[in-house]
Amino acid sequence: MRFTIIACLIIGVLINYAAGVDPTNFKTCEQSSFCRRSRKVQSTGSKYAIIRGTVNTYSDSLTADLINKENHHQFTLKLEALVGSTFRLQIDEKQPLRPRYRVEHALKDEPKTTRIRVQESDELSITVGTSKAVIHGDPFRIDFYENDVLVVAVNAKNWLYFEHLRQKAKAPAEPADGGDDAQQQQQENAEAAQPAGETVDDPGAWEENFKSHHDSKPNGPEAVALDFSFPATEVLFGIPEHADSFALKSTSGTEPYRLYNLDVFEYILDSKMALYGSVPVIYGHGPERTAGVYWQNAAETWVDIYTAETNVVSSLVNFVSGSRKSTPPSAHFISESGIVDAFIMLGPKPMDVFKQYAALTGTHPLPQLFSLGYHQCRWNYNDERDVTSVSAKFDEYNIPMDTMWLDIEYTNGKRYFTWDKFKFPEPLTMIKNLTELGRHLVIIIDPHIKRDTSYFFHNDCTENGYYVKTREGNDYEGWCWPGPASYPDFFNPVVRDYYASQYQLSKFNTVTEDVMLWNDMNEPSVFNGPEVTAAKDLVHYGNWEHRDVHNLYGHMNIMGTFEGLQQRDPNQRPFILTRAHFAGSQRYAAIWTGDNMAEWAHLQYSIKMCLTEAVAGFSFCGADVAGFFGNPDSELVERWYQTGAFLPFFRAHAHIDTKRREPWLFSERTREIIKEAVKIRYSYLPLWYTSFYELEKTGAPVIRPMLTHYPLDKETFSIDNQLLVQQRLLVRPVMQQGVSKVDVYFPAVDDKKNGDYWYDVETFQRQERTGYESIPVNEHKIPVWQRGGSIVPKKERPRRASTLMLNDPYTLVICLDRQGKAAGTLYLDDEKSYAYRDGKHIHVNYEFAENQLTNRFIGKPNYKSDAWLERIIIAGLERVPSSATITVNGISQQLEVEQRNGAVVVRKPSIKMDVDFAVKLNA
């Protein structure tokens, strides 16, 4: 979350912290023993081969033994075919000294396998539908084809690197306990004396130091690394979380991208440094093909990226050699421990791959509607009076707001599940004040537990051995907000159950079932730990080292929270916000981009980062509106609200040292612009809600990079300052200071520069050309277009909270394509419970053609809503109709039609949402 002055003093890096993060507090690849070892293979290559005669084929898979031809260590390989053009490749040691860690809980369930056809001619191949894997024995390599196009090649560069587990070499003269440099040197020498291949020639192989921290590394070297090439593609993206562009950059000559969940204070932009979350999924995209690889490994991971970036040398080489084909983009995944467990997803289109990934790790379940509204947070709302009066001010200024948040200061001395009784003597009354207005409260509960013998949670954890342990078997003690703190071992199901049970209202009786949760600092953040996190040689449930599971810690934390909230109220969908995340965490929680800064560049990165997160499963993503650190000027506040209104998670948040910035504290102009932005957000809630339902059903991201629907248009590949909401809206917020116009890219659907029509959502002015257009903007303008051919459901009566809009009427906005057609869905239900899973919902597709709007229900409309259709807006008609006729069950009525603001409005169809109807425009 953030460091206070005190925390800074504690870790003694005051000066560095004053000017943003000091990168030297975090490791480089070179400073990380396994990374530098594994990276070396990029120059030497490795020699792995399948042992002849060990190949076995099964109905859905194939196994073989693999040998490292240099040290003759043997491995087993398993290649499975999964439903949905996906293969799973696992490589482990054949006879490991100890079991190696295999990631649990990331996949949503055991992936479904599918039947394969095996062909053995010159080479071995297995085929499923249009997908094919061709296995090469020596050197080992697997080529994956989609419809006969090579899309992913595994180990094409021979960068497979698998450090088998081994006994620590004994020094000739056993050194005394301890480890000064001389002794270390001795040990290394001793190791060097081992037979070739048994040694890993690196001083950090059996122990390493970073800053003042020592990592004992009892298991020695155990890295795994493998390269993946994407021959049919031109751009790589994915592997969040980094504050970087959407398109991944070549790491040739620079640091690799790092995946290691860390609490980075005032993170820097345009950086490959690790942040709070790690999602090891990467995609390659080209006009014809899109493919992906999910590298399932929870240990610290570095990813080297090689893209065919046109540099002078390579283009010269290509020119001279006459080769037009440059090296395909590739990624080299390097993990500290575990096994090779890679899922190869073959697309072929961007949306196919996103859905293939969603089929593996799941999607965010449909959230309660309120969580898509506007959230008001600050570190901290000081007391009950503060909370209640901020809520009242939103009503005074008629600005919608759904959720008030309480950061750490509400607790009794950072003891979670307790309240500061002085500032919050009657939390239930305060909560009631909010819920009576249709609002919600979210409170923070972090995973660091105050070591205080008068704190029940600490005592329970101590007595029952629930804490993460040191190597010596003692409870690990770190330093965080409460001071000395320990960390529950959420990997232990018993601990998770204990933690989950704390949410029961019988135990935590100072909240209600409407109070939702925020899990922060769950990387975990340890102020005095190496790189501000837990030591790698700590021990978790099942005797796994923290090294093996680090990137999953936050995931296990939110699993427990989710379980707790579901148990607390089985018929209410939990809302959880988490900072740390791993593949699959989207099944439990929304995320935000952590402790950003009130700067224009950070505003721009909010979109880049959330787009990457969205394609990696985390559609429910947002950034702290107006920036966590620092004091934004009013223009930045205005633009940030306008941008935040079009990212899925829309929350204002600010550091405790910043000036208060609730909307009414600014000038009237700024307040009005904020209000407009929030109201626009509320008017589009039916679209957001429908999108999230369709995300749950299909895995299609809610927000999408342009290339998703315009895969042929190469210009879109690198665009990350505009986004699509489903395939309906194109959003290009103003994210620069003092501009009077923005350049917006209208993409082409083919290679002949044909594009969709785009209608300005405010003026219905139509863009017909593709390419960049300079769009004039004033301070009120949020440049948003609706795609011609789409229908967007809206509710144009924003209220003080979204929960109060349940029965309000809908507006359908129809924007016609070149053929005068359009279509779009609407989803609705009770917006809160799980009844929708029993079919208590309405999912409807609207279609407009031949001057007539009709609806078609997807499944049976099985939810009784008082909401009704109040108006239909149609843009792109050639003539204004004289009237319209609505027909329901053969009975017709005339409806008035009027022209308004560049579009045609059909007045008051007044039908319920579960009724079949047709509205015909009359000439």
Binding site: R797, R800, W868, V888
Partner: protein, 549 residues
Amino acid sequence: MHTQFIRLALIAYALIVAVVYGDKDNNIRRPRGVSLAKAALYQPQSDGSWSCLDGSKRIPFVQINDDYCDCADGSDEPGTAACVQMRFHCINQGHQPLDIYSSHVQDGICDCCDGSDELPAVGCANTCLELGAAAAIQRRSEAELHKRGAERRQEMITRGKQLKADRVARRSELQARIKEQESLKAEKEQLKTNAEALETEALEVYREQQRELDANTAQAEQEPQQMRHEASLSFVRFDANKDGFVEITELMIDMDLDKDRNGVVTVEEAKYFLDERERVDLDAFVTLAWPRIKPLKMLADGLFQPPQTEEQAATEAPLANEQQEAQLEIDPPTNEHEDLEDEEEHYDDEEDEEEEPDVGVGEALPEFEATTETTTTTPNYDPETQRLIEQANGARQALEEVERQLREIEHEVKEIEEQDAKDYGVNEEWAMLDGECYTFEDREYVYTLCPFDRVSQKPKNGGAETTLGRWDQWFGEGDNKYTRQKYAQGAACWNGPQRSALVNIRCAVEPKITAVSEPNRCEYSYDFETPAACDSDALAATARAHDEL
């Protein structure tokens, strides 16, 4: 289909029924949500049509409140939520009428006490009578409070006016004295000039001898000049707002002056350097403040050296006019640590002295000169020369004494002017608060409010007092100017702004602080009660305005 249309028809019917209703008292029929004042605007034309209030459109009268927004200005839907920019008028009979946002209409939350903003199904209770009664009681007790408070306030007004009159009188008295002193000064200047002319003449004899004095002496002679020069430069540096005065706040930002090295230059510390004054002009700065500041600046610059031993003093700078100056120079220290300690002791002593009563303007000066005299080694003059020198010294001292008194008077005039500049209210009712201090304790701190002066905070478990702000201005909005005060330019927050505070003032019979909070980092909020705020006339005016609604 039929059922659908029928249900909608029913809804429409219910709405139409609700469209027009009569008010029991006023009996003027008007659409739901329209105030009596606007009733006339909602009448159908003879053809059953009606024009939007902005004239933008003509619609059938029955489309008023039909839950669909037809008019661009929203005027056709005063009683529903259909037009986002509309207001709904609650009659709230028995209590106050209220206009609410249309977004609050039919949202399931009872906003009007008569429940008129929600459909009957929501079941809003009509609480207007109770609320009205409670409000009446509240108003009565408030009126009572104001009445009782107003008596006190009247006393405060009387006293405040008296204070003002006293200031006027005192000021004209002082101005008269300034005139006297100025002519006295001219007289003394003349005497001094005459005496010095004689002295110069007599000393001519000793010039040669004088010239023979070594470089040290020459330097020493320049020192008073130098000191004044240095002091003036520092004055300019300190006087950040260029008003010709160095003020406490201007010193508080200079960490060199953090005597106790606790990281904060407190008001008390700053005051010490200003001879316990709020501010000093250039003269006072040179003579009073600079001698105190300079050692610390030198210490900060690494120039400070230990006090000399007596032997050293005797051998060096025999003519030093400024012993202190001399002490601050040359001689490498033998033990830095010790030196520092010595220096601290030295200042402790001074501080003690300063705490004694009767230390007034210019006190330091004669003391200073006394020191000078005792340490000055004079050559042996003949008796006549000696007499002339003494005469000249006497004339100089007499002039200085007059000048000192003049400065004292001018200082007092300035203080009066400052007080006059403070806004003590239309009737001087706030004047009496200037000079008072009030405290408030919460869990951790004791908060102090000294109206028109400063606000501060002191941790209960020990620790230094922190200034949260100094008097800045009245800060109430519009007609309520005298309901809020602002104190600004308090001690700076670590890595943040200077602290400040707002004091919200309410009427009560007894003055007291009722709450203090920090809604914003380093921005404090006080709730303060005083009879000075009890204005029963104003309250009555508000009440009348209220009744007219």
